[in-house]
Symmetry: D2
Subunit: 334 residues, 4 copies
């Protein structure tokens, strides 16, 4: 049986997912696409042999759609995810699950009423081979009990529309999820330290930023977010435990010696860096849809990430330590 | 349209290909499998929903088989490939294309009579992201005109059946193809230098070996083959040019510091090391089958590799320099 | 002319300096040693052919002592340094210059009255080839204007006598000086973040700690101090600028592949890690003594480091951000 | 007691040694220098406070010279070394010990008549911290019994006077000695393989070259010599044993990320690369002179290296395998 997927949103990430499902995922195909920009939807549909749905709602309800992939603008996520849950269809939602904590709670409530998980959130790093190997090593006790985590999230440059808040909501949110997942622990406070900003940014932006998190278990995490670092896309993650430390590997690139320098090239974008992670994420999601099960980052994970990101945005404004209280994890997400 | 693939040979590599086509290649499925060991064939068929063909010949001729994947015992390759060409069906043949130079010539002759390429040889390293990036860099002139190549091919341990000749035919044959491809040059001589052998080998085996090749263009290549190196699976390839050198990257593994040591784990097998390469190879082959085109390593490449490996085996015996003359490349393979 | 050096303090670091001057520094010799533990002093003196002085004061005043090296217990530093300045003799004082800010000011006042620099503080990292190359690269604009610094200072294990305060005063003080020197900037505030402590420590100790500093120019610095990290001695320093980043190199150790692991051994102590730095420090100091000049970390540097360390200790207690005001730098130290 | 050293030859390497002894070696000073170029001798003498000797012979015989350092033109080495042995004075001779095997034998005969070792040959790599750590690891059995060695010796560019023979005599001679020392084994044959030469060389020169050596114990060694590699000075040495492999470390240089590239700078010359080795070599030699003992590479090592280099030059001409028979090692050099 081939899983028929409907995609809402045919922007850059939506088109990447469509291409990926079409080319590298067995047992799945795109059956319908929806976008407010009809021309974009038609173009995307033509490339993968899908139909254009009249709207996200129509797509979610349609008989030729077994599962929904939400890749539209963030503020519309909650509406589509809630509709998919109401239709009892599995949904993979790009991060964020929702832009407000209240909407995240609404989604969890809907799943709980239904009594089963349908929502997976697009935290693709959990599928990156490097992160997965780090996770295994930490669980195997290779570094002992974790105590500290040092992270960096660097982009070559940010567009004009990128705001100081997005450093938390769009960039660090990946580190927030990765830390929660690697440590199997919840974040309980956030602080933001602002160094002088680089001159190579749009004037409205505080860049770089250092975000500090504490977990319920007492682990301390620092995250450098630097979205105009100029030299490339660079994701670092080091976990320090009682017996040692483990670092996320840099991508495998050839070693070159020429012109008095030895080294490698640096990836320039997340698409290149996390290509294998996206492949694995979509394959795992389609498999779980076909099997009628749920796996991967849940609505709870999407909620916790949104809650921590919101506290981080408040910490940007106040300069102080902002507590985060995610509450008790519902049994459905145990 | 889904490409229906028939697989001949359900040993380890055959089963890996079946699993891969089934799970990670879109637009293709396994429709039939054949194996002299009927029980093995039935087991493999059951796992992917294919039928068991009565024989390789039946499979090749069947209407439900669009393309053939040959993963049987080396000495049977030529027969199956010739049958596939006779049936005008695309065929992906695991290396070697054939165990004798004469059989390789026969296959090329068949393709030439037909007037088009149907055969792809399973030199999967050409699809490894690291090798591909090295190739691009060499072509872009990043290291200037190549002069030397230093390679190593190490396995943790070899089974009892592994012979001194197989170090050339089964192991170094990958380096032989990779060198021809990276340098876009033909090998014209082979020499083998035998150090004392490791004590950790079966007594009949010369291990390690150093193979020396020269290309028509004057590039010199040295290849260490060491199939009982104990520490893991390790493939090294360094090309030295007039302006610099480039090295194949080691796999991206997390960096660990613990117990007074810093470093990474080492892959233990080729399946792990070249997993992404096999994915890309099969995807590219299925795409070219669907498109009715041919790409990747050709029968000519399979022939040249077999010819060089044969000279290397002779060099193992004589200790001297053995010339290789592959002759003029037919227009079909230009 | 050979510089005759008197050494006060013949503990571990004192004996190392004596050995170093005797064996690897030309143009200098140890003429006298002093220690409250007379037996230790006699043993050290015998090994290098020096006499035992009756006291630090006697040594400083003696005609056979051209310059003084203070390697005694920290709280005695100020007294010996002040005596050396009073005697107008050059003095190399192990860190800290003094344990209180007031004593550091007293020493600066004495030098200023004299109108010339006599004091060098033992911040040997400024002589480490790696740190020096980082300094040159930063000054050459290789990474653009610095914005952030990420540091780690890890020891295998700490003795019972090591206290939470010493993480700032004895360990991070090296990072404090290195950051001031690399950035040519003063630290204006300190904060300490305490993760859960490792179980592998003495119960009185908070370990690890994360210290956060801000400079007058707005650079933010984070320093992990972890003195029971178990795996070895490990010093990391990464400076992030507007154009790129630069990392202190790890020591050059052979790369080993064996038993499924690839990597290097890790140094186990600071003596091994900074051996070349100590050589260069002592050689530079003896040269400047011979030349009648002053170079290297000054009393001002010793004062600033002590002031920042004191603020860090206060920050350990309060949990908040503690300002540091070092005031105007006197002309003598411009 | 200060060792008084006379230096014959004040070219680049001679001046480096003079500077080194003067500045970084305790317990030794330069008392006399000799050079056919009197002006050069006077200039060198003035810088270190030594006198100018009338000739090498006068210097060797003089009362103010305890030990002799020969850094003159290679063909004059034998004469000076023989004179020093005749005068029963310790002598450190830059490589080669002598340019002919016959002269090397003459020197060994003179030492044997005297009944004690006076000669040390300037194979400074034995004092390089990286090589020493490799040696220790090999001796400790970390890689098991050695089987293979892969080496590279690359220079940015060679002067006009550099000849094809010098690739063996002046460049690979370092690898020849290092291999004999690391393996504690003698080389018994040499072969040279010539790839096409780089276009960036003087027309008379074959560059690069690959030299192949075999030891009495059956270890095979390949050495790439490439003296116009353009990108820098690069020395590689990898030893493969029954249990694993060990690689000489690259120098510790800061890691830089900027302009889409990650990596380090490459040393540009041997002086920079082996600076610590030269320091340690001269310190060890002066210590052994002071102690009246002998250590380090002996006349036997100098002889063996010259014999292997001579065979390598013959192999360059013939293209074949040239045997080397160093004979029985005299008891003096056991």
């Amino acid at each position: 049986m081939t899983v028929r997927i409907g995609v809402i949103g045919t922007g850059a990430i939506g088109r990447e997912h469509i291409e990926r499902v079409t080319r590298t995922v067995s047992g799945a195909r795109i059956s319908a696409v929806a976008d407010l920009d009809t021309a974009a939807a038609e173009k995307a549909a033509a490339r993968c042999g899908a139909r254009v749905a009249a709207s996200g709602a129509e797509l979610i309800g349609a008989d030729d759609v077994d599962a929904v992939l939400v890749a539209s603008w963030g503020p519309t996520h909650a509406e589509h995810v809630l509709a998919a849950v109401a239709a009892a269809k599995p949904v993979l939602c790009e991060k964020p699950l929702a832009t407000t904590v209240a909407d995240c709670r609404r989604i969890m409530a809907a799943e709980q009423r239904l009594g089963r998980r349908l929502v997976q959130v697009g935290f693709m790093r959990r599928y990156d081979p490097g992160y997965r190997e780090v996770k295994r090593a930490v669980e195997d006790g290779r570094i002992g009990r974790p105590l500290l985590m040092h992270c960096a999230h660097r982009n070559r440059s940010a567009p004009l529309a990128y705001t100081t808040e997005m450093a938390a909501q769009d960039s660090a949110v990946h580190e927030i999820d990765a830390a929660r997942w690697l440590l199997a622990d919840e974040i309980v406070s956030a602080q933001v330290v602002l160094p002088r900003s680089t001159s190579r940014r749009h004037p409205h932006l505080a860049d770089p930023q250092v975000m500090l998190f504490e977990t319920a278990g007492g682990v301390r995490i620092d995250v450098e977010v630097f979205v105009n670092c100029q030299y490339g896309y660079d994701v670092q993650c080091e976990t320090v435990g009682e017996l040692g430390l483990i670092r996320l590997p840099d991508p495998a690139r050839p070693h070159l010696r020429a012109a008095a320098r030895a080294g490698t090239e640096i990836d320039q974008g997340w698409g290149e860096r996390f290509s294998a992670a996206f492949d694995a994420e979509l394959r795992a999601w389609c498999d779980s849809v076909a099997a009628g099960t749920a796996s991967g980052p849940s609505a709870w994970d999407g909620y916790a990430a949104t809650a921590v990101a919101a506290a981080t945005v408040e910490a940007q404004r106040t300069g102080g330590v902002v507590p985060v209280a995610v509450g008790e994890r519902p049994a459905l997400y145990a």
